[in-house]
């Protein structure tokens, strides 16, 4: 649609004026969108990360053994031999702390910068062995045996997480979808009502506009923008809150949990901020515009 800048500016001004005029309804609509999208966002964050974690634990046959930092290379070799003798151990692979860090950096992708300071002497990781067992069931027994050996600092293994995770993901998805649909519906309803209020308050104006030959799209524009603003502002609030929280959480894991192999693999902040803001803002815009267009439709009958 071609439209003069002056006209667009006029529509913009009108929509802002409308929002100001219905102060508390505006606040209510924005809050409704914010609450609904906050929950969508939380849900999304949890689900995506659960999926990420589940996918990263490639299979349940892996046990990681972190070697005491004090162990010298002979002691490491001895440990390796001891492990190889345990029943059910299929393979064993040495991963030096430098390699571990490199691997970690690969996982972080764009956010690898946060790890850079830990290179070289600052490397907080331990050297480790990656053990594969014949069957997933055997990991627990192997891990228990390994943890009793000398020079072992820590042992981590799948504990059947994957199955449990997928179950959790399933339940959460069903509950979440119902909850989210309800909340989104409420948000649309509130937006529609806010805009209906402005429309009723300005019915004479709309009548005159139609009478002197304004097109339907001209009449519709300010209300369209009004809905868009309600939706997008409503989305920005949870985007900011969630990303701030995620940033903290993410950094917390980087700082404190570098050894807990399972949980360090949160989705990198840069990726997550893109997903979250894009998705929430798009949903916000859609429900805002939807709410506004449903409420103006019947007033535009000629």
């Amino acid at each position: 649609m071609d439209m003069k800048a002056r006209t667009l500016f006029r529509h913009f001004k009108e929509s802002i004026k409308n929002l100001g005029r219905n102060g508390w309804m505006t606040v209510a609509s924005i809050s409704a969108v914010a609450v609904a999208l906050m929950i969508v966002g939380l849900f999304l964050t949890v689900m995506l990360n659960l999926n990420q974690i589940a996918n990263h634990i490639e299979n349940d046959v892996e046990v990681r053994v972190y070697i005491d930092r004090t162990a010298n290379s002979q002691e490491q070799d001895a440990l390796k031999k001891q492990i190889q003798q345990i029943k059910d151990v299929k393979s064993i692979k040495y991963i030096s702390r430098a390699e571990g860090l490199k691997e970690l950096m690969k996982d972080f992708g764009k956010d690898a910068d946060v790890i850079k300071p830990y290179q070289g002497d600052q490397n907080p990781l331990n050297d480790a062995f990656e053990i594969k067992t014949q069957k997933p069931k055997q990991t627990e027994a192997v891990a228990n045996k390994v943890s009793k050996l000398d020079n072992v600092s820590d042992v981590s293994y799948g504990k059947g997480y994957v199955k449990k995770l997928f179950k959790v993901v399933d339940i959460a998805r069903n509950v979440g979808i119902v909850l989210i649909l309800g909340l989104l519906f409420t948000a649309i309803f509130l937006i529609a009502n806010t805009i209906k209020l402005t429309i009723v308050a300005r019915s004479t104006e709309i009548e005159i506009m139609k009478l002197v030959g304004a097109t339907n799209s001209f009449v519709r524009w300010p209300y369209f923008l009004e809905g868009l603003f309600l939706g997008v502002i409503g989305a920005l609030i949870p985007v900011i809150l969630l990303l701030t929280a995620y940033h903290e959480l993410y950094n917390y894991f980087i700082r404190n949990s570098y050894q807990t192999y399972l949980f360090i693999r949160l989705i990198p902040f840069s990726k997550m901020s893109l997903y979250l803001s894009a998705l929430l803002i798009i949903i916000g815009a859609v429900i805002g515009v939807w709410g506004s267009l449903t409420s103006i439709r019947k007033y535009l009958r000629v």
Partner: protein, 228 residues
């Protein structure tokens, strides 16, 4: 100019408001539409600017049958027509100037043209000195002149008015008539539904009388024909 060919209008509730009207109004004419309350005058007027769509029949405006107009095309019909009501329909928070300019803004006229045209019509309705007043600061007659100014600011070829003097005292009513005369002198067609016997009788213009949605009289230089 405006031609109705066997036009019928029944409302959704079953009321038959216009029943087989055929009439032709030439460019530049001044036409009074008279009749008892409920006879169908307003419906007749509303059909002309497509506020209502006829149930049956053709309504030609400049050769186009507006009965067939798509919703999208209606705004462009409205831009060729001015409409004036009994209740002025001014926006209370806008000044006189802004009320008139509003009609041009919403059809995306340029600011320069808006300034020029608004000042011209305010001059025509003799309200230049009230440009910055709010409607509430004006007399009823002045308010109606603002509404007329708004209806003609886009140079329509026709102005239709539904009892424009209905809310005014005789003195103010005559002021309004003067304005319509001036507009008509400039070549604009005027169609006016009215209850004002005094005015109709003195002006000696064409009079179309409607009863039960039918034209019962159409005189070139007519009288009101009913008792006040």
């Amino acid at each position: 100019m405006i031609e109705m060919q066997d036009v019928w209008k029944s409302y959704a509730n079953g009321v038959m408001a216009v029943n087989g009207i055929s009439v032709k109004i030439e460019k530049g004419e001044f036409v009074y539409v008279v009749g008892q309350s409920g006879s169908g005058k307003s419906t007749f007027i509303k059909l002309m600017y497509r506020e209502e769509r006829p149930t049956r029949g053709k309504i030609l405006v400049d050769g186009t049958n507006i009965a067939d107009l798509k919703n999208k095309e209606i705004p462009f019909l409205r831009r060729k027509m001015g409409v004036v009501f009994q209740d002025f329909k001014l926006l209370p928070k806008l000044t006189v100037y802004e009320n008139v300019a509003f009609a041009l803004e919403v059809i995306e006229e340029s600011p320069r043209q808006i300034r020029k045209k608004v000042m011209q019509v305010l001059d025509l309705v003799k309200l230049k000195h009230r440009a910055r007043f709010l409607p509430s600061e004006l007399s009823g007659g002045e308010q109606q002149r603002v509404s007329i100014a708004r209806s003609i600011v886009n140079n329509p070829s026709v102005v239709v008015a539904d009892e424009p003097t209905g809310n005014l005292d005789p003195e103010n009513a005559w002021g309004i008539m003067e304005v319509f005369e001036r507009i008509n002198d400039n070549g604009t067609t005027v169609v006016m539904a009215t209850h004002n016997k005094d005015i109709v009788d003195r002006m000696k213009r064409r009079v179309i009388a409607i009863e039960s949605g039918m034209i019962v009289r159409d005189d070139k230089r007519g009288d009101f024909g009913y008792e006040g």
